[in-house]
Each structure stands twice: as structure tokens, then as C-alpha cells.
């Protein structure tokens, strides 16, 4: 199961090829990626690649560097060294790369004074989605929250806001979805809607990177798993049929719990 993170990963699957078109570049390519904040190293020398339809679930204790990794891949942070490419476009700075990424963060990234529909429609317009209002409504429908589409976000519960936030991140049908603890605050309906949406995205060929503390949720979607500690992948593997209990034991050993 274990492989040092600093070694380049081999593609897990043959890249999706449609018709006679040349193979698309990997959805995510990370090589020797490091990010420092002052003297503190948040992520160090990560290397991996994900292709369309892959899902990398990243587990690890607080402060391991998981969120920093997602923020670099979302174009919100510059790498200190190494490189990251989304759909073959270098980050940061590549608008073409940001256009195919959806980010779901700890925080909702919503405007509380606007309605749920207005928030998602605003995002659809930023991404150049045609018929943005309809697309926004469909995204809310996918998250089963159309009954509150016209409610101001500030009047929604934490879980409902999270559903709107997820709709916002998926309104442009991203090729790469970065999820930072997306199940936080979701009730059963919301969690089921999110799981369905993520499976649908995978089927459509989107690559997912899911950061979570919940091993069950992570393993259910993962084609790859990583355990992160002190900015490094201390374990990185393509997932076979790993039992949850066995993985939990391996995780505890890996992070020293």
C-alpha cells in the first residue's frame, strides 16, 4: 500500500480518450510541490498525478497541509517550489486552469445578503456558463435545495449553506473538484445529495481530490488514497478493495495515534 510521496506516481488508469482525439493531459499533475509560510513548511515535495475519473482521498491530522494543498491547486496560493498543472495548464496564473476547477472549502464562500440562486448564478456568470440562471437552478436541484432558492443565504442553516456552496462549486461542471471537508454540517439528505453528485461527476470524468477526516466517506469514493503528515504523503496508494477497519488501523499507525 505504501509508496513514498516524493516518487512520481504512475497513472492509475489509461486517460480517457474520446474518438480519435489525442489523449488529454492529466487532470491534475503535481511535481515536487512545496509551499512554505515563512519558516514553516506546509507542504513539501509532493508528486502525484490524477486522470479523468480518479478520486484521491487525502486523510491526515489537523495541520498536516491538506488545505494548503487544495488552495495551491485552486490557484489561491503560489507554490514555493515545484509545479502544479491542471488540465495541462501551469498554476498559478492560468485562468484556463481555474476555469475547470471547482472548490468546496471549510467556509461557504457565499454572500449572505444574496439569495441561494443569486449566489450560484453569480458563480455561473464568472465561469461563463451559458444560461446562467437555469444552470444555477439545476445545480441547486442537484443538491436538493431548490425550495430555498430564493431565500437569502443568511437565513439558511449551516447545512443548507453548505449545499448551496457545493452547488456553487459545481455549477460549471468542473473537470477537477477540490473538496475540503465537504460533509461538514450536512444532514442525511445533504450528505446523500453530495455523494450522488460526486459519483455523477466521477462518471462524467471529473477528477476529485477529497480532503476528509472521515475514512468511510473518503474510501467510498477513492480510486487513490493518501495519508498526509507534516506536509508529506506518508502513504499514497491506488485503492484496491481495502477494508475500512484495516485502513483505519493502517491510518492510526501511520499518523502515530
Amino acid at each position: 500500500m505504501t509508496r513514498p510521496a516524493t516518487e512520481p506516481s504512475l497513472p492509475s488508469e489509461t486517460p480517457v480518450v474520446r474518438g480519435d482525439s489525442p489523449p488529454r493531459p492529466p487532470a491534475v499533475e503535481v511535481e515536487g510541490l512545496s509551499r512554505r509560510f515563512g519558516r514553516r513548511v506546509a507542504i513539501r515535495s509532493l508528486t502525484f498525478a490524477l486522470h479523468d475519473g480518479d478520486c484521491l482521498s487525502v486523510f491526515g491530522p489537523n495541520g498536516a497541509g491538506k488545505t494548503t494543498l487544495l488552495r495551491v491547486l485552486a490557484g489561491l496560493l503560489r507554490p514555493t517550489s515545484g509545479s502544479a498543472r491542471i488540465a495541462g495548464v501551469d498554476l498559478p496564473g492560468g485562468a484556463a486552469a481555474r476555469a475547470v476547477v471547482g472548490l468546496i472549502s471549510h467556509q461557504s464562500m457565499l454572500y449572505s445578503a444574496l439569495t441561494a440562486l443569486e449566489n450560484v448564478e453569480f458563480a455561473a456568470k464568472l465561469y461563463g456558463v451559458s444560461a446562467p440562471r437555469q444552470a444555477a437552478f439545476r445545480a441547486l436541484e442537484r443538491m436538493r435545495i431548490t425550495d430555498r432558492a430564493d431565500s437569502p443565504v443568511r437565513s439558511l442553516s449551516r447545512g443548507m449553506q453548505q449545499r448551496v456552496s457545493i452547488a456553487r462549486a459545481m455549477v460549471h461542471d468542473p473537470r477537477v473538484v477540490l473538496l475540503d471537508e465537504p460533509y461538514t454540517g450536512l444532514d442525511e439528505v445533504g450528505a446523500a445529495a453530495l455523494t450522488d453528485a460526486l459519483h455523477a461527476l466521477k462518471r462524467q470524468g471529473a477528477a476529485l481530490i477529497l480532503v476528509t477526516h472521515h475514512l468511510g466517506e473518503g474510501l467510498a469514493l477513492a480510486t487513490h488514497t493518501a495519508i498526509m503528515r507534516e506536509g508529506q504523503f506518508i502513504e499514497y496508494a491506488e485503492r484496491g478493495s481495502v477494508e475500512l477497519d484495516a485502513y483505519r488501523d493502517a491510518y492510526r499507525r501511520a499518523v502515530g495515534q
Partner: protein
Amino acid sequence: MSTTGVPGMLAAAALIARKDLAIEFRTRSAFLAALVFSLLAIVIFYFAWDATAVSAADLAPGVLWVIFTFSGLLGLHRSFGVEEADRAIDGLLASPVDREAVFLGKAIANLLFVLGVQAIAIPAVALFYNLPLTRVLAPLVVIAVLAAIGLVAVGTLFSAMAANTRLAELLLPVLALPFFVPIVLPAAQATARLLSGRPVTEALSWLRILIAFDIVFIVACALAYPFTLED
């Protein structure tokens, strides 16, 4: 899903400005605060004024520009305040629109905010100080708009810088006010000449300085803005 293409700089800026104005229109918190501050300041200055010692034409320019400077800060602070709540700014920056479009959109919304406050404060000051507003209205509007552009360019930049900090409310005035001086000074001087009945040509040299600082600040702030967003 199909796309029509990522919006260009101006389209994205218009989108962001419209969103900011929609939020302000819903909450009205910053505009009302700025308006209340402006009217209170006018009343306080009015009752502190000894008309036998200082003429209205000498006092009014100072009153106007004190009001514009500080009421503008209220709106500018809110500009990135709404983005920091729930980290909506991350959603903007992770989108494919340029950083410069975010700056421009914010600046447009802030400009309309400041102009809105000016549209109410100028007639109010004219009313209290019995100023010949109709005679100087056109050149006064030109001065107000030019000064607003400079104030907004600087204020939007520092609002972005301060919003990321814990002391944003304190830091914004500390950072921005020194840079407001080259804008407020010529604006106040040009206003004083207009209100004291001097020919418009006497205000032109101050207007040139104002325009020069506008250009310098717009270019410098647009170039510096992307760096304020780096963690």
C-alpha cells in the same frame, strides 16, 4: 453544461460591481452609516461655526472634504469586508476572472457609493451654508468626481490589504488617509476658489494636480492590487 466563454475584464468588473451594489442595496448598512455621518458632521460644523469670524465660502470646502473623506472610508471598509465574511473572496479568486477585474469591479462599486454620498452631502452643505450652488454646480461636480476617482483607487487597494488583517477597521484609515492627502488638498483648494466666486480658470491649476494624482494612483493601485491578494 455549455459555456459562453469566461467574461473579459470589463464584463467581469461589471458583474462584480453589480453584485456589490446589489448587496449594498439589500443591506444599505454602509450607505446609511455614511449618510448619517455626513449629516451629523454638517450639523456639528454648522453649530460650531462663528459666521462673524469665518465666511461660509471659507468654511464649506473644508466641511465638504472632511465629510467625503471619512464617509468614503465607511464604504471602502465594507468593500472587502463582504468578501472576507465566509471567505467569498476565495470564490472570486479561484474563478477564471483576472485579479485586475476584481479590483476594477470593486472600484466601480465604491465610486458609485462615494458619488451617491456626495449627491446628498453637496446639496445639504449648500443648504446649511447658503452657498450659491446653481452657479458653481457643474465645476463642483467635476471636482467631486475627479477626487472620488482618486480616493476610490487608493481606498480600494488599501481596503483589500486591510481586510485580511484582524485590525481592518483601524488599519484602513491609517494606511489610506496619508495617500488621500494629495487628492483632498487640490480638491479642497479648487472647491474654495469656486465657492468664493473666483473665476473657474483659477481652479484649473489645482484640477491639473488632481488629474495627475488620479492617473498616478489608478495605475499604481491597479498594478499593486494583485500582490495584496497573496497569502
